[in-house]
């Protein structure tokens, strides 16, 4: 049956299940398999060292130096970290703006996506069309989304303020107003985000809930709300956890939309952390300080993710785990 004669001896002496036996020393076949495995994953492994781990270590090193790309890095110890926390007002401004942004967009994004998923989980005619309508904004390039919303939100001749005018409300200056710039950006981000991946993940979670649970609750005379709280929410809590982790991380990274529409303004009202980092590293070419900002950012994201992982056992329900 062997397709080629030269392979036959190898195939014959190969103990197919030998890797289950857990023998400490590897057989020739196991070594071959391991070698082939490493070979196959080598593109990723090399890429990990060259494009991820190496750069991370490099930026850790730069963060302790004065470095402007043109000259060699000069070691300055903790200077950048001390400067960021004690003297750089814009650092704190950007931290505050970013936290406000997360507090505003993450809960709204998750609740909105869940609401949309529940709505789109109904059996209605034309459902494919509705789902597509909700999803399309998510695919729009962020620059295009920003430009079209700048036009909609144009204070004097924009369609939104014109509609508000029609019902007797004098619309704000949106992206040009200190109070409204961030809510306006949040609105754009909800438009692009609510019907996106978060909603689809919820939708998949909702569809995985067995009908029998709801039928049993019906027999017990449960109300719609009781079913939602006692069946739907626990059953989709893993999806919610997944969305929360990724949502928080993504919200910390907000950049493109603000970069295109407000450039952090007006009066630093939308000056997010990533804008500060970009400004320091790629406008002022202060790579050392930019790297310090990047590492502060990375540690914050990591700590928050670990915290969420630790908190999840209090509220995430995994079927079969209990």
């Amino acid at each position: 049956m062997a397709t080629s004669a030269s392979h036959a001896p190898v195939a014959a002496d190969r103990p197919i299940w030998s890797f289950w036996s857990g023998r400490p020393s590897m057989s020739r076949m196991q070594r071959l398999e391991a070698f082939q495995g490493y070979l196959l994953i080598s593109p990723w492994l090399i890429g990990f060292f060259v494009f991820i781990l190496g750069p991370m270590l490099a930026s850790f090193y730069y963060s302790f130096t004065l470095y402007n790309v043109q000259t060699v890095p000069r070691f300055v110890g903790l200077y950048h970290y001390i400067y960021a926390f004690t003297s750089d007002n814009l650092f704190w401004v950007s931290v505050k703006r970013t936290l406000m942004w997360s507090a505003m967009t993450v809960p709204l994004g998750i609740v909105g996506a869940l609401f949309a998923a529940i709505l789109l989980n109904n059996k209605l005619k034309g459902m494919a069309f509705y789902r597509t309508s909700f999803f399309l904004p998510h695919l729009t390039p962020v620059v295009a989304a920003s430009i079209l919303w700048m036009w909609i939100l144009q204070p004097d001749i924009g369609i939104l303020n014109s509609l508000l005018d029609g019902v007797g409300i004098r619309g704000p200056k949106w992206l040009q107003s200190i109070q409204w710039a961030m809510p306006a950006l949040a609105m754009i981000s909800l438009w692009t985000g609510i019907g996106g991946n978060k909603m689809l993940i919820f939708l998949a979670g909702l569809q995985a809930i067995p009908d029998t649970l709801y039928e049993a609750a019906d027999i017990d005379g449960a109300s719609r709300w009781q079913k939602f709280v006692n069946i739907t929410l626990p059953m989709i809590s893993p999806a919610m956890f997944f969305n929360l982790i990724l949502g928080v991380i993504a919200s910390f990274q907000v950049f493109g939309m603000a970069f295109v529409t407000t450039k952090g303004g007006p009066a630093y009202a939308t000056y997010f952390y990533a804008l500060h980092l970009y400004q320091q590293a790629f406008v002022s070419f202060d790579m050392g300080y930019g790297s310090a900002l990047a590492w502060i950012f990375f540690v914050a994201v990591l700590a928050l993710t670990l915290l969420q992982l630790w908190l999840q056992k209090r509220w995430v329900y995994y079927e079969g785990a209990v």
Binding site: M1, S4, H7, A8, A11, I16, E33, A34, G37, L40, I41, P43, W44, I46, G47, F48, V50, G54, P55, M56, S59, Y62, A116, N122, L124, A128, Y130, T132, S133, F134, F135, P137, L139, T140, P141, V143, A144, W151, I157, S162, L200, I201, A204, Y214, E215, D220, A239, F242, L246, F252, Q253, G256, F259, V260, A281, F282, M287, S291, F297, V301
Partner: protein
């Protein structure tokens, strides 16, 4: 089935009229929200076909008084030294090459993780997954320094070459999850028959992997086409700009010229979004499958 169980329960069955009203409300809400999500698209297309003088009309006209299709040809050849056609060509080159590298190498890496036993495999896989939460800002500064040393700044290479190294955690994870669902017995039977590991990949895994590779390619396409931060940092000259960067560039230019050319910007936005929308409509089902697969097991 709920009506059947309800009649068995002690509760009063919901009156038919109330049910009908609830259903009508559901339709109304869904349609209204769909319209809200679609309206900005409609407004962009409508504006893109207006004459410049019509833009400043207040209240704005819902539909163009006269369809200005030439707005699209005007933005396609902006004049100056650069044109939107050039941005499109650049994005096509970058996206096309990056996509080939991404799907090809992610497939190999995913096969390695799914079907081979080697020391440290689980650790390496966990490491791979953890890179998914790594913000790009952490590595972008040293990458800039690295690519500068390679003399790659202001070339397409920084946007293409990294994709040939595994294609990113999400793509590998997606394909690996899929390969895990294929029965191992097929592989093992082929091994007994003396097939090599690479011929198993070619003759057994690949013929089944069409849908997941399509999913990976679609996500990859959208990711590369929409990419903004990396081109912004690695490209300098306008004639090398990709579509999103070119769009941003045109927006800057508009401010300089001081003309209300928002209709042209809207036409450019439509052109920038169109490839994505077309790909989405061709391959809708792969989207939902892909997200469901990665999300549920994530």
């Amino acid at each position: 089935m709920t009506t059947v169980t309800r009649s068995l329960s002690t509760n009063q069955p919901a009156p038919a009229a109330r049910k009908w009203v609830g259903r009508a409300g559901m339709y109304l809400l869904t349609i209204a929200l769909s319209a809200m999500f679609l309206f900005p698209f409609f407004w962009t297309v409508s504006t893109s076909l207006k004459k410049a003088v019509e833009l400043i009309a207040y209240p704005p006209t819902l539909l163009p008084q006269q369809l200005m299709w030439e707005n699209y040809t005007r933005i396609w050849n902006v004049g100056m030294s650069i044109s939107f056609a050039q941005f499109f060509l650049n994005s096509t080159i970058v996206t096309g090459l990056a996509l080939i590298g991404q799907v090809l190498t992610a497939f190999l890496v995913a096969y390695g993780f799914a079907r081979f036993r080697f020391p440290g495999r689980n650790f390496l896989f966990a490491l791979l997954l953890s890179t998914m939460i790594l913000p790009p800002h952490v590595t972008i500064i040293p990458l800039f320094v690295l690519f500068r040393q390679f003399h790659w700044i202001d070339t397409f290479l920084p946007l293409i070459v990294p994709s040939f190294f595994g294609g990113g955690a999400f793509t590998i994870f997606l394909i690996r999850q899929f390969i895990m669902t294929l029965p191992r017995e097929l592989d093992e039977a082929a091994l007994i028959d003396g097939a090599s590991r690479i011929s198993i990949l070619w003759h057994i895994i690949l013929p089944n992997a069409g849908p997941v590779l399509a999913t990976a390619a679609i996500f990859g396409f959208i990711g590369h086409w929409n990419q903004f931060l990396e081109p912004l940092i690695f490209l300098n000259s306008a004639r090398k700009y990709t579509v999103p960067l070119g769009l941003w560039f045109l927006r800057q230019q508009e401010g300089v010229a001081g003309l209300p050319e928002d209709n042209l910007l809207m036409a450019a936005s439509v052109l920038a979004t169109l490839p994505i929308v077309i790909v989405f409509f061709i391959a809708q089902k792969y989207f939902v499958q892909g997200i469901a697969m990665s999300g549920l097991k994530g």
